[in-house]
């Protein structure tokens, strides 16, 4: 519970003080509520007297009315938090999450699926503030009401009180079990759900094959098992969690009857006043309610705790540290010195004691099998993460002494997958320099072979990408991204096989655009098609996280047993053979 409270206070952020106040108000309201129930005792004592003393009875009705009114006033204050702050808490949580996403090391960010992060900022943020605004006060009631009522009954008559306390003590372990059991159950259902999701996607994508072999339809063997398994997981989880709840409810019902029976016996023996019994019976009838709520609450608590934890987890990721701020680089050669790097949670390093030098304004190609570490090298250049050992330098400056955004100021990247924002073409090109003039933007677009087709769009540079979305071909999108890079005019350019997925006609114009982008820059390119990097100043063959060969195309071909020569031969064979 303390953990949840801490998480709630963190998530409440700037509204933590209001949240604390609300919790206190809620506690006060609940105490007043308990007092209202307690006031039934004197009231009923007057009402069950023969003859009724109406004056005194009215007095107690008045007291009851005042208590009800005070509770109402406190509840209004308690609820004000929901109405005044719920959305503000959500708002601040989301903005803080957004800021955290921006400053988080790229490696941390890449580790998280976009869908998960959407859930954190979207649904989890609202669930978290929902927990803060409503669930917390509900919880206060849930715990306080039975406790206070128990004390009230004990005070009225210890024997009857003991019945209630005994029932509560017996029910407590059951309520605890609900939590444990539903945890296990939810987990199992989640697994079954995930399996089913996977199978449904598979079924849809595989329909042509499955239909051809009679495995499609309502009785598809690819679905039957997971469907039943999911049904059983749900049924079992429900059964196992509802049993303790049922037990607890039964205990409370029994306690109520026992209370009536014991009370009646005591009254018959004249060892208990009838008025007290009546008051106790009315109060005890309120006991069952919080208990039956406990079951539904457990689920809500699980969800809230999960949501709060996930929000907290994203909020507390530390940004990459900057050691002793270094001088901004003025030259733009790149160097790796004995760099060893392993991704988080992997034992095997992806790069091992890697040394490389990339002179300023040179063209360096990284080639090698997939998974050899080529992409990781470009990631370390842009300070995606820091190496565990060794140093990466830009213009002689250790990257660790520069903030990631300072590093990135000197680097332009053209990716294989182009990402365009749902904004105008102009804004997409001007991303790196929002203050660029129209002329500068058009010049960049011309250099990227993009001006002609942009001009033909309905609103030219002001056309929104989202509105024409699929109307832009892969080649056109790629040219917009190159225009963006040209406008940025960064001294270092990283290219990741930018023409791999283009059709023949687009390829030529994109190639021309790249030629203009890289002129006079320090260029590092990841290449699969070796023919595109024949002219590189140096080709580095990366295999298993090490540089296994380095040299120009011709130098490498002169090592006929080398990996490069074999790759070249395989590609020449593939190019000239026919399908």
């Amino acid at each position: 519970m303390r953990r949840i409270l801490r998480l709630m206070l963190t998530a409440a952020g700037p509204y933590a003080a209001q949240f604390r106040t609300t919790l206190r108000v809620s506690l006060a309201a609940t105490l007043v509520q308990a007092a209202a129930y307690a006031s039934f005792v004197p009231l009923l004592a007057e009402l069950t007297r023969d003859p009724v003393r109406a004056g005194r009875a009215w007095l107690w009705v008045g007291v009851l009315a005042v208590l009800v009114a005070v509770e109402a006033a406190l509840r209004v204050r308690e609820m004000a938090f929901t109405y005044d702050y719920w959305h503000l808490v959500t708002h601040s949580t989301r903005l803080r999450l957004g800021a955290s996403l921006r400053s988080m090391p790229q490696q941390e960010l890449a580790r998280r699926a976009a869908g998960d992060l959407t859930a954190v900022v979207g649904a989890n943020a609202t669930t978290a503030s929902g927990a803060i605004s409503s669930l917390s006060t509900l919880f206060v009631q849930l715990v306080t009401v039975p406790a206070v009522l128990g004390v009230v009954v004990l005070a009225l008559d210890w024997r009857l009180g003991l019945v209630l306390v005994a029932a509560t003590l017996a029910a407590l372990p059951l309520v605890r079990q609900v939590q444990r059991r539903s945890n296990a159950g939810f987990h199992r259902v989640d697994e079954a759900d995930a399996a089913l999701s996977g199978r449904i996607v598979e079924y849809v994508q595989g329909l042509p094959v499955l239909k051809a072999t009679g495995q499609a339809g309502a009785d598809s063997p690819r679905l039957a098992a997971v469907l039943t398994d999911q049904q059983q997981a749900q049924a079992r989880s429900n059964r196992s969690a509802s049993l303790p709840v049922a037990g607890a409810q039964l205990l409370v019902q029994l306690a109520f009857v026992i209370l009536v029976a014991v009370g009646a016996a005591l009254v018959l023996d004249a060892r208990l006043s009838l008025a007290v019994l009546v008051a106790v019976v009315v109060t005890a009838a309120r006991f069952a309610e919080p208990l039956s709520m406990a079951a539904t609450m457990t689920k809500l608590f699980e969800q809230s705790e999960a949501a709060l934890s996930r929000v907290d987890e994203v909020l507390t990721v530390a940004p990459l540290t900057v050691t002793a701020p270094g001088a901004a680089p003025t030259t733009f050669d790149l160097g790796f010195e004995q760099v060893t790097f392993a991704y988080d949670g992997q034992d095997e390093p992806t790069l091992t004691e890697l040394d490389l030098t990339i002179p300023e304004r040179s063209l360096t190609a990284l080639v090698g099998p997939s998974g050899s570490g080529k992409t990781t090298i470009t990631k370390l250049i842009s300070r995606f993460a820091d190496p565990q050992h060794g140093t990466v330098r830009l213009g002689g400056t250790d990257l660790r002494t520069l903030r990631p955004d300072e590093v990135l100021r000197h680097i332009a990247v053209v990716f294989q997958d182009v990402y365009l924002f749902d904004d105008t073409i102009r804004a997409n090109i001007a991303l790196a320099r929002p203050d660029a003039t129209d002329d500068e933007i058009e010049a960049a677009a011309r250099a990227a072979n993009a001006h002609e087709f942009v001009r033909r769009l309905p609103d030219g540079y002001l056309t929104r990408v989202g509105e024409i979305g699929s109307a832009l071909s892969g080649g056109e999108r790629q040219r917009i991204s190159i225009a963006r890079a040209i406008l940025k005019d960064a001294p270092v350019v990283l290219l990741d096989e930018p023409t791999a997925a283009l059709d023949t006609e687009s390829e030529v114009v994109v190639q021309q655009a790249i030629d203009r982008l890289v002129a006079g820059k320090t260029v590092v390119v990841i290449a699969h098609r070796l023919s595109t990097v024949v002219g590189a100043d140096q080709i580095l063959v990366i295999d298993g996280g090490r540089v296994t060969q380095r040299g120009t195309h011709h130098e490498l071909l002169d090592e006929p047993e080398g990996r490069y020569a074999r790759m070249w031969a395989a590609q020449v064979a593939a190019r000239t053979s026919t399908g």
């Binding site: 039934f40 069950t48 009705v61 804004a427 890289v518 390119v525 395989a570 026919t578």
Partner: protein, 602 residues
């Protein structure tokens, strides 16, 4: 708004329940048990009140007290047992309904035109089959049985109070107008706010997706202002829409919080009881009963609110499920014929996608692919190449014209038979979670181990399966083949196509994503797959098709040129231009100025 109003949410859910009669029967039983349970519980409280009430007699009878206490025990325990059983039945029924609906949906998907299924997309279908079906649970499992206990119990309480002491019932009824106001305020569907909220909520999600997915670009190009600004704007819009909604619902929310709780009702009952007792109109026992059951109607209102929420939540899902279930199936032939041979022909084919008006995607296509020959389709993206490929296995039906396989109109061939004749190898290889062997055998479940191995060998897959995978043919490939590389996945799908022995093969960009070292292996595999079969290839890399029997150049839904490579190049038309582009692109290298003549190095 001219949009047709969707049918009521509860109606839609009940219609879906009606599809599974066994489930409906169980739910009825659950509701009935709920009624019995609610009534028993009230009877239990009445007995408890009478047990205590007996004590007010001048000479209370111990036996009577015992009898009433036993009645209370019986009533409360019966009520408890019935509710428990009702919940159990309803949950089980709801889980069963999920299975039934999912099976029905799987059946519909299997009968729909495959092209329609593809256009819906696996993501959307997954959402319907998984999430939307699941969203019915709250209504089916919690809300329907609740009609038993949540409605029957308060009614029984009012009835009991009326029978025992009608004057107290009047006091309880005083609070009814307040309750009605609360209920009407709460059940009001703030359509406008809800829609605004939903839109704002979707925008936040879209903004987050953009913010997160675009982060690599954001970091290299943006100082953060532009993209963070868009994100913050979406968040702000959401906050405002919520503020609006909160403001309008504030009054009803407070009213509910204050009155839809037991204490105010109990206060009214107590206040009413003072003069009634003084006048001797009612007995203390009646007051006790009023205090025990009088608040039940009020307490039943809160769950009714949940009910409204549940129904609103699942309404959209139920409608989507219904829509998918109602999709028309692909018409199957009444007098099916078997294809004779493996020739493929398109005659005057015109086709447009149902959802798109305007220009047809294919506009009068004539294409003849004699048995055992290879035909390549080339042309710019959007020319209709993939559509041609998908009409052959009848992913869609043509608007006019005929597609023939083995001389027979594809509409006269049963779809299973047609799909057995055509093997599809697409750009994005399709693998199921399971072992390598299972994946290859998918095409022919009866194939022996030797046949599977032979197919893998022919697909240049055997070596990596045995040498590189931990458990050879029994290695798991992971969900959608995630544990294998792209080239490995592609070769396994080729092995599957080889094993299928389908006489017709359709290849759509099959080598596009292969890395250089795999490319040669995949091309060998494809060469073996296509040997002796009728083949349609869609290719971007023109060097892979220079030797095929026939090249058809598609543009704007028509075939603008056809012939063999050498003839088309010589003709100097559209294909010749494509070929020129292709050779120029192939010659390009970074830092071209410093590049020696590439042809010389080959």
């Amino acid at each position: 708004m001219t949009r047709e109003r969707p049918p009521g949410g509860l109606r839609t859910v009940l219609d879906l329940v009606a599809l599974a009669p066994a489930v409906r029967t169980r739910l009825r039983r659950a509701a009935l048990l709920g009624v019995v349970g609610g009534v028993s519980a009230v009877a239990g409280f009445v007995s408890a009140a009478f047990a205590v009430g007996e004590l007010f007699a001048d000479h209370p009878s111990g036996e009577a007290v015992t009898a009433w206490a036993c009645g209370a025990l019986a009533g409360l325990v019966t009520g408890f047992a019935c509710r428990l059983l009702a919940e159990h039945l309803a949950h089980e029924a709801s889980y069963r309904l999920e299975v039934e609906l999912r099976r029905a949906l799987a059946g519909v998907l299997a009968r729909m035109p495959l092209g329609e299924v593809q256009r819906l997309g696996s993501g959307r279908i997954k959402k319907i089959v998984q999430d939307d079906v699941k969203s019915l649970h709250n209504v089916v499992a919690d809300a329907l049985p609740f009609v038993g206990s949540g409605v029957a119990q308060p009614l029984a309480a009012l009835l009991a109070l009326g029978v025992v002491q009608w004057r107290l019932l009047l006091a309880v009824l005083l609070i009814v107008p307040v309750a009605m106001i609360c209920l009407s305020l709460l059940s009001r569907d703030y359509t406008e706010q809800r829609e605004r909220y939903n839109t704002a909520s979707e925008n936040v999600n879209a903004a987050v997706v953009e913010f997160v997915q675009g982060m690599p670009v954001v970091r290299t190009f943006d100082d953060g202002q532009a993209s963070f600004g868009r994100f913050a704007a979406a968040v702000g819009e959401f906050t405002e829409s919520v503020a609006g909604w909160l403001a309008t619902s504030r009054a009803s929310g407070l009213l509910t919080r204050l009155f839809i709780v037991p204490l105010p009702t109990l206060l009214v009952i107590a206040a009413g009881a003072v003069p009634m007792l003084e006048m001797g109109w009612i007995r203390p026992r009646d007051l006790l009963l009023g205090l025990l059951v009088g608040a039940m109607p009020i307490e039943a209102i809160a769950p009714l609110m949940h009910l409204t929420n549940y129904i609103n939540d699942s309404k959209a899902g139920a409608i989507r499920i219904r829509e998918l279930l109602d999709r028309p199936p692909l018409p199957e032939p009444e007098h099916p014929r078997e294809p004779e041979g493996s020739a493929v022909a398109l005659e005057q084919v015109v086709f447009r996608y149902a959802a798109e008006r305007g220009e047809p995607v294919l506009d009068g296509i004539d294409l003849d692919i004699p048995a055992g020959t290879v035909c390549a389709l080339v042309g710019p993206s959007g020319a209709g190449k993939s559509t041609v490929a998908r009409l052959i296995p009848r992913f869609h039906d043509v608007d006019s014209g005929v597609v023939r396989v083995g001389g027979v109109d594809v509409r006269d061939i049963r779809s299973e038979v047609l799909l057995r004749h055509v093997a599809l190898v697409f750009q994005d290889p399709f693998l199921v979670a399971g072992t390598v062997a299972e994946n290859i055998r998918l095409a022919r479940p009866g194939a022996t181990d030797d046949e599977v191995r032979a197919a893998a060998r022919a697909a240049a897959a055997h070596d990596f399966i045995v040498d590189e995978l931990p458990e050879g043919y029994d290695s798991q490939v992971g969900e959608r083949g995630g544990l294998l590389s792209g080239g490995q996945r592609q070769r396994i799908t080729i092995a599957r196509a080889i094993l299928s022995e389908a006489p017709i093969v359709i290849l759509d960009e099959a080598t596009a994503f292969a890395d250089p070292e795999n490319e040669a292996a995949i091309q060998q595999a494809l060469a073996r797959l296509t040997r002796g079969r009728t083949v349609l290839i869609i290719a971007h890399r023109l060097n892979t098709i220079v030797d095929v029997d026939q090249i058809a150049v598609l543009d704007g839904g028509r075939i603008v040129e056809r012939g063999r490579h050498a003839d088309l190049v010589a003709a100097g038309g559209r294909y010749a231009r494509l070929w020129a582009c292709h050779t120029e692109a192939a010659r390009w290298g970074l830092a071209a100025a410093r590049t020696p003549n590439l042809e010389a190095t080959r």
